[in-house]
C-alpha cells in the first residue's frame, strides 16, 4: 500500500503539465503501483475565487472511487472564505486545507494567515503548506511568490498551537528545532525533496521527530513519480520498521482517511 500525499490537478500557468486531469492522474498512479493520492487544485491557487477550483476538484475526484483524496485551497483574503471552508470540510468532507499565502497575497503571520490557521485548526483538519511549487531560478516573469521559510512557518505554528501541518516540498527544516517548538506529532513532511541516502535528511527527520513524521509524496504532476519511489525503496532497506508508516500509515492516520 502506498499513499501519495503530494499531488495536484489542473493547469499550471507557467509550464505544460502531463497527467493533469483526474483520469490521467489515476493512470499515473496505476503505472507506479500507488494506491491513493492526496490532491489539491492548481486552479484554486490561481483563480481569483479559489473556491471555484475546489468545486472543480470536488466534482473531478468524486468519480475516482476514493483513489483521489481532495484537499481544499482557501484564500482568507476573499469574500466568504469561511463559508467556503465550511462547505469544503464539513459538507464535502475534504481532509485538509491548503494555504498558499505567497500566491494569494498575504503572509502566514499576518492577520489573514493567523485567522485562516485558527479556523482550519478549529475544524480539526491539517493545514497543507507547500514550501514552493517550482524552483525560483526558473520562474516566469509573472511568478512572484517566494518560497515559504522555516522561520515564518515556526512563528505561525507556535502562534496557533492546535494547528497540524502537512508540509510538502520542504527542504532544510531542522527536526530538532521543530521538536523544540512543540511540533513533534503536529507535522507530517513528504519525501519529495528529501534524500534517504547520501544527504540523509529524511533519516535525520525520522530520528528527531519520530517515525510518524514522514510520508510518501511525489509532487506529481510537476515532478516525476519514481524519484520518491526510489527513496521509499531505499528506506525499506535502511529503516524497514518505518517503511509502512512512511508508505501509507502516517498519511492515513494524519488525514483520518477511511
Amino acid at each position: 500500500m502506498i499513499i501519495d500525499v503530494n499531488t495536484s490537478l489542473g493547469h499550471y500557468p507557467f509550464r505544460a503539465l502531463r497527467h493533469r486531469t483526474a483520469p490521467e492522474l489515476v493512470a499515473l498512479l496505476d503505472r507506479h503501483a500507488i494506491d491513493r493520492a492526496v490532491v489539491s487544485s492548481l486552479h484554486a491557487v490561481f483563480y481569483r475565487d479559489a473556491h471555484r477550483g475546489n468545486e472543480e476538484l470536488h466534482a473531478a475526484t468524486r468519480a475516482s472511487g476514493g483513489r483521489l483524496v481532495p484537499v481544499a485551497t482557501i484564500n482568507p483574503r476573499y469574500v466568504g472564505w469561511e463559508r467556503d471552508l465550511a462547505e469544503a470540510v464539513e459538507t464535502w468532507g475534504m481532509k485538509a486545507v491548503q494555504l498558499v499565502p505567497g500566491h494569494h497575497g498575504y503572509a502566514l503571520n499576518d492577520a489573514y494567515g493567523r485567522s485562516a490557521l485558527a479556523r482550519v485548526a478549529e475544524l480539526g483538519v491539517p493545514v497543507v503548506l507547500r514550501q514552493r511549487f517550482e524552483d525560483r531560478r526558473q520562474r516566469h516573469a509573472w511568478d512572484q511568490a517566494e518560497d515559504l521559510t522555516a522561520a515564518t512557518f515556526l512563528e505561525a505554528a507556535q502562534a496557533v498551537p492546535s494547528a497540524r501541518f502537512l508540509l510538502l516540498n520542504w527542504l532544510g527544516l531542522d527536526g530538532a528545532r521543530l521538536a523544540a517548538a512543540g511540533l513533534k506529532g503536529r507535522v507530517l513532511l513528504d519525501l519529495a525533496r528529501l534524500q534517504v541516502v547520501y544527504r540523509k535528511d529524511a533519516l535525520r527527520l525520522l530520528e528527531t521527530l519520530g517515525g510518524e513524521a514522514l510520508a510518501f509524496g511525489t509532487h506529481a504532476p510537476f515532478d516525476y513519480v519514481a524519484p520518491s519511489l526510489v527513496k521509499l525503496a531505499n528506506l525499506s532497506r535502511l529503516r524497514p520498521a518505518d517503511y509502512e508508516a512512511v508508505a501509507w500509515r502516517n498519511a492515513a492516520r494524519f488525514l483520518a482517511l477511511a
Binding site: M1, I2, R15, A16, L17, R18, H19, V26, L29, D30, R31, H32, A33, I34, D35, R36, S64, G65, G66, R67, E134, D135, R136, R137, Q138, R139, A141, A192, R193, Q195, V196, V197, Y198, R199, H219, A220, P221, F222, D223, Y224, V225, A226, P227, S228, L229, V230, K231, L232, A233, N234, S236, R237, Y243, E244, W248, R249, A252, R253, L257, A258
Partner: protein, 306 residues
C-alpha cells in the same frame, strides 16, 4: 487513530467501489517489499549499469587522512542505487577567481578521493581559466594523475576568449569539457551568477570548436530547463547531462525528442535518488535508457588521447 494494516484495508475496501482501486488494494495485502521487489520500480533497477557523469567530492582537506564522511556517504549511496562510476570534481564556487594554489588544492582533494575509491570515483580537473598558462599546466597534471576531463564553473562566460585555450587543450587531449550551466530567469539569482553560461553560450563555443567534447552540465540544476533543451537544438555537437535538484516531469523525454538520446548523459550532481528516479520514470526505450545511463559517456571516454 491507530490503524493496523489489515483493518485499514478492510475499512477502505468497504467504501471504495472503483475496480481499479480494488485491484490495487489486493496487491497491498502482500508483505512489505523485499530487496529486488520495490513497488512501482523495474525489478532490475538497481542492477542497470549507470555512470554518474556529474558529481562532486567535498572533503575538508586534500590529504588522505581528511574527513571522508561526505565521500563515503556518496559511495554508500552509489551502492544503493547501482551507480558503478562517479565522475567527480571539486569546483571553487561563489564567483571566486581562485589562484592556482587553491585550484591545485581542490584538485588534490579529488585525487585523494580517487585513491580512496579506485575504480569508483573518477576525476574532472577544475580549472579557473583566468590563471592562464598555469591553468593549462594544471590540466596536464590532473590528466597524468588519472583524471578524465575538465570542469569549469561560472567564473567566465564560455564565450569569453580567456576560455579558448582551455577548450583547445581539451581538444588536444581528447577529453570532455563539462561546464556549469543555467538559463536563470530569477533576477536575484542572476545577479549573484552573472557569468553563468546558458545553452546558446555553449553553442557559440561549439561553433568555434566543433571537435570539442562539450557537455552542458545539469539541465535540471536550476534555471529554465525547457529553454536549455530548445537552445541546444542550435548546435549538434553539445551533449547535456540530466543532473540537478529539479525533478520535473518530462525533462528526459524532451531531451530525447528534441536532441536525440545520443546527446544525453545520466548524472546526478548530488541529487542521486531523484536523478536515478527520473531516468526510471522516463518514457523512453530500454536501449535509449542504457545509452543515457552509461554507453554514451563510455563513447566519449573512448575518444581520449594518450
Amino acid at each position: 487513530m491507530n490503524l493496523d494494516r489489515r483493518s485499514f484495508l478492510r475499512t477502505t475496501a468497504a467504501g471504495l467501489g472503483a475496480a481499479r482501486l480494488a485491484g490495487r488494494a489486493r496487491a497491498a495485502t502482500a508483505p512489505a517489499p523485499s530487496p529486488g521487489d520495490d513497488p512501482g520500480l523495474p525489478r532490475d533497477w538497481r542492477a542497470q549499469r549507470k555512470f554518474d557523469v556529474h558529481n562532486h567530492v567535498f572533503l575538508s582537506g586534500r590529504r588522505d587522512d581528511a574527513d571522508w564522511a561526505d565521500v563515503d556517504h556518496l559511495i554508500e549511496a552509489a551502492e544503493f542505487l547501482g551507480i558503478e562510476r562517479l565522475f567527480c570534481s571539486r569546483p571553487i564556487t561563489a564567483g571566486v577567481l581562485a589562484n592556482i594554489d587553491a585550484v591545485r588544492a581542490a584538485n588534490d582533494s579529488v585525487l585523494a578521493a580517487m585513491r580512496r575509491h579506485p575504480g569508483r570515483i573518477f576525476g574532472y580537473c577544475f580549472v579557473q581559466p583566468g590563471n592562464g598558462p598555469a591553468a593549462l599546466d594544471e590540466i596536464d597534471r590532473c590528466l597524468e594523475a588519472g583524471m578524465v576531463g575538465i570542469k569549469l564553473y561560472n567564473q567566465f562566460k564560455y564565450t569569453d576568449p580567456v576560455v579558448f585555450p582551455v577548450a583547445e587543450k581539451c581538444i588536444q587531449r581528447g577529453i570532455p569539457f563539462l561546464g556549469h550551466s543555467a538559463y536563470l530567469t530569477d533576477p536575484k539569482t542572476l545577479a549573484l551568477q552573472p557569468k553563468t553560461s546558458h545553452a546558446l553560450d555553449f553553442c557559440a563555443l561549439s561553433r568555434r570548436y566543433p571537435e570539442l567534447l562539450l557537455i552542458l552540465g545539469h539541465v535540471n540544476g536550476g534555471g529554465d530547463w525547457e529553454w536549455a533543451i530548445k537552445g541546444l537544438r542550435e548546435c549538434r555537437n553539445v551533449y547535456l547531462d540530466t543532473s540537478g535538484s529539479v525533478l520535473e516531469d518530462d525533462t528526459i523525454e524532451r531531451c530525447v525528442r528534441l536532441l536525440g538520446h545520443e546527446r544525453v548523459l545520466f548524472a546526478t550532481d548530488a541529487t542521486m535518488e531523484g536523478c536515478v528516479g527520473k531516468m526510471l520514470a522516463a518514457e523512453i526505450t530500454p536501449a535509449q535508457r542504457e545509452a543515457i545511463f552509461w554507453r554514451n559517456f563510455q563513447g566519449i571516454l573512448d575518444r581520449r588521447r594518450a
